[in-house]
Each structure stands twice: as structure tokens, then as C-alpha cells.
Amino acid sequence: MTEIRGGRVGRWLRKGVRRQPVTVIAAVVLLVWLVVAIAAPLIAPYDPLAQSPQSYDPPSGEHWFGTDELGRDILSRVVHGARLSIPLALAIVSLALLVGGVLGLLAGYLGRVVDEILMRLTDLVFAFPQIILAMAVTAAFGPSTFNAVLALVIVSWPVYARVIRSTVLVIREEDYLHAARLLGVGPVSALRKDVLPNSVGPAGVLATLELGNAVLLLAALSFLGLGPRPPAAEWGSMIALGAHDLSKWWVSVFPGLAILTVVLAFNVLGDSLRDRIDPRYAGGQR
């Protein structure tokens, strides 16, 4: 039984590697990061918070990624950073998706005044550059993980609202919805059964693509000192520590690479997912 399945998975993998090597690599990278996040304490060679007198040690056999100002092991901090960035990105995206989704659903389905108000509201948020608004919000409420997430949800829900709204506007004119309503299905159950399931697809794709963005924005806020509070091992704030002194390049290079790989993996996967769901974008064949 297991053998058969193993064979099948193997075949599936081989096929995947051949057809979409980049996607498979991204999936593997992400998987590795997930494992790293889950098993951080087992993987990290040191306590990420443990300070030592060996400040600013360059990378060596003892500290592969070197140490920072307080003599903390950067590898361990990068590893533990995954526990922060990845779940927080997920939280930001799911909350934004929830808020934007519900509002977009209502705007698209109810139309008229509700729609107008909500769309002006999204316009309003769009009129601020994301990072500036997020900065103002976190600065106002004080830097903390919660506030950073809150700020990023505030700046990112409109994207989802718009996407969902536009899919709902399309669905609202779909014959299957009309047919159901003609059969006497009430508006609420139509919303639940017909509108909602058909709008989650595009939103889901968007959410995957936005995961990378969320990691980046969170890192940017932390870089500016508005993210999770120290001594948390957050990648953006680790880069900020290194930014004071570029000659200690290892302090900022490794967390930067961590962000880069995670975000890249998210983006590649999101891209492939979009290709799958919307085959018009598929690579390879037209």
C-alpha cells in the first residue's frame, strides 16, 4: 500500500520536476522554511536571545552566520525569525482576506450605496502609500507585533475587497444565480451557496501572492523599528541592526536572504497557483 503510494508520489514529483522545476523548487524551499519554523528550537544551534561577549564575530565554524552586536548567534536568530514572519504573514493575509472578503462580498452583492461607500473607502486607503499608512498607524499605537499586524491588515484589506467585489459583480450577473433565485432560493442562501464559493478562488490566488508581500511589509515595518518588539528575532529588525554598520555585512545579509527566499517561494507558488486556476496565464502552452 505504502509502496504504491510512494511510487505514485514519486511519479507525481518527477513529473512536476520535469514540467515546472521552478515551482517544485519553490515548494521545497517553502517546505524547508516551514520545517525550520516548526522545529526552530531543534535546528537553531543556540538560544536566539542568548547574549554573549563575542559581539560582531564574523561567520565562522562556531557561528555559521556570525554574531550580532550583543553576541547573539545570527543563524539561530534567522531560524527563529521564521517562527515570526511566516505565521504573522499568514495572520495578516487571512485577516485582510476576511475583512476585505466580507466587505467586498457585501459591496458587490448589495451594490448601490453600500458599494459606493466601500469603494470610496478602498480608494481612500489606496490613496495612502501602504508603508506610510502602516507607519502612521503603528507609530500612533506604538510598535508591537499586534499593532504591526493591525496596521498591515488596515492597509491590505482593500485589495481583497476589490477583487472579491469585482468577482461578485460578475457572479451577480451569472445565470446560475438567477436560476437559483427564480427557484425561490433566498438572498442569503444564494450568497452562501452560489456567490461565496465562486469568489474564493480568485481571492485565494491573490492571498497566496500577497503572502510574500505581507512578509516584505512586515519586514519593512520592523526595519523602521515599528514591528515586533525587541528582543524578538524579526528579520526586518535584524537587518536594521546591521544597517548601522555595513562593514559587519553578515548581520544584515543573512536575514535579508531569509526574507528573499521565503518571499520568492511564496511568489513562485502564488504564480503557479494562478496559472492553475486561471489557465489563461499558464506557461508552456497557449
Partner: protein
Amino acid sequence: MSGSLTRFLVKRLAITIGLLLGVTVVTFGIVHLVPGDPVSANLSDQALNDPAAVRAFREKWGLDQPVYVQYLRYLGNLVQGDMGISQQTGRPVVSDLLSYVPATLEIALPAMVLALLIGTAVGLLAAVRHGRATDQVVRVGALLGLSTPPFWLSLVALYVFFYLLGVAPSGGRLSAQFSPPPTVTGMYTVDAVLAGDWAVAWDAFQHLILPVFVLTCIAVATLVRFVRSAMLEVLRQDYIRAAYAKGLPTGVVVRRHLLRAGLVPVITVSGLVFAALLSGTVLVENIFGWPGVGQYAYRAATALDLPSILGVSLFVGLVYTIVNLVVDLLYGLIDPRIRLS
């Protein structure tokens, strides 16, 4: 046409005003939600112990009034072109903006233009070479660009080009031995050229390179990705096949038929990319010591300097609506089907 254009513009103006009002309300709201009292944040210890000084400060900034009165007062001043005095610089926000905005435009505009040129060319190439190696490389490259934290890229660029190679200046707008050229546009390179001061122009230009490079990287990735998929979409259209069926050479089909149709969505996204670029300046300017709105905004936000935050928000909101307006006008220009209404 002209009648409908006027109506269109009037409507847009109304929307813009509404939006800007919204921006002020939101900003006011955020800043007033803050637990902190601007009085204690802005007065020295000693002054705080002096009730008269505190009262004077409150009166000066209208803090003794209810929030809505403060807001209306702000609006009243705003209509007269007065955005108040920045608490951090102590100067009128308007004059602050006048000096910071050109600096930002000086890096944002070239970055945008470069990104548009490169993005369109590369995206087009990828679309035409769809599914082949070039396409894959471009695709991965674009994703790589999208995935790189801009602040980190700035640091790396600075480290490599300045610290290691010494080929780029470290930051700022001008080397110390030069004085800024007489202000015309506020953009040093342009002003220096206008003044015929080539040494300054060259120096200012060198200072532009790294920040513009980083900003271009941010924008180009988004654009390439978008142009590629927009062009692919167009490539699938019957009219492209029809153009080939007419016996037109590939070059003509691409230039005349593909590019034209593909540019419409690209214009839309350009507006968004420009907004993203302005976001990007916050981080990039901080690292390159570039005295632009981004840095100004950062300082204002962290100092909770209400007039400055409002000023920046209004400026950005204005840019946003203007960019959207330009996008819509361009739409009408390029696509005959779109009527302004």
C-alpha cells in the same frame, strides 16, 4: 467631446476633493487616537512645569479646542494654502513639502520612466518568447525583483557599489564641495543643467544612480510581470492572429498591434506602480540619506507630527488622484472605445 471632457474633469475634481477630505479625516483620526498628548511630547521638561507655557502651547496649536473645531480650523487654513507649521522642523509644512517633494520626484520620476521602458521591453520579450527559456528567465527574474526587500537591496547596493567598489557616492543629493544650483524645479540635476553648471549636474546625477537603481528594481519587477501577462492576453486575441494572417512581419505585428492593445492595462498598473514607488521611497530615502518626502514622512510619523503627516498624506493623495486622472485620460487617448463619462 470638450463638453464631456469638462464634465468628466469636474466630476473627477469632486471625487478628488472628497478623497482628500477623507485623507485628512483619517489622518486626523489616527493621530487623535494616539494615547500621547502632543503637549508633553513637544515641550521641554521645564516648560511643562510652567502652566502658562502649556496653555500657550495649547492655544497656539488649537489643542484647547474640541477635535472637530481643530479639524475645521485646519480645513479653513488649508483652503488658504496653509497646512500649518511642522512640529518637527518648525517650518510651514507647505515650504517643507516644496523642498522635499522635488527631491523625491528626482528619484521617483526617472525610476518610473526607466521601469516603464525596461518593463515594457522585457515583458514584451517574455510574452513573445512565451514558454521558452527567455520567458522563464524573465519570469523568475521578475519574481526575484518582487521578492527582494527594497531596504535590503539598498543596503547591499550601498555596500557593494560604495563600500567595496567605491564607484558610487554614499548618499545625499550632492557632494559637499558643491552648492545646490539655484532653485527652479527643485531637482538638482535639472536645475544644474538649467544653470549651465555641468559639474554640479554630473555630481547630482551620480548621486541619483543608486536610489534610482533600487527604485527601478522595485517597479520594474511588477511591471514586467504585468506587461508579460497583459501581452500574453493580447497575443491570444483573434486580431493578432488576423494580423499575422495578413502577412505582416512579426516586428510590425508586435509594434503596431500587440503593443498598442497591451499598453492599455499597462497604463492602469503604471499608476499603481507609481504609488508603490512612492511607498518605496520611504525606505530607500532613509538609507540613502535622501531628503525627500519619504524621509519626511517617516520622521513625521515617528514624531507624531500631525501637520506634517497631514501634509504628506494630502500630497500623496493628490498624486494618487492625479496619476489616476492621467491614466484615465491616456486610456481615452489610446483606446477609441473608451468614452469619457
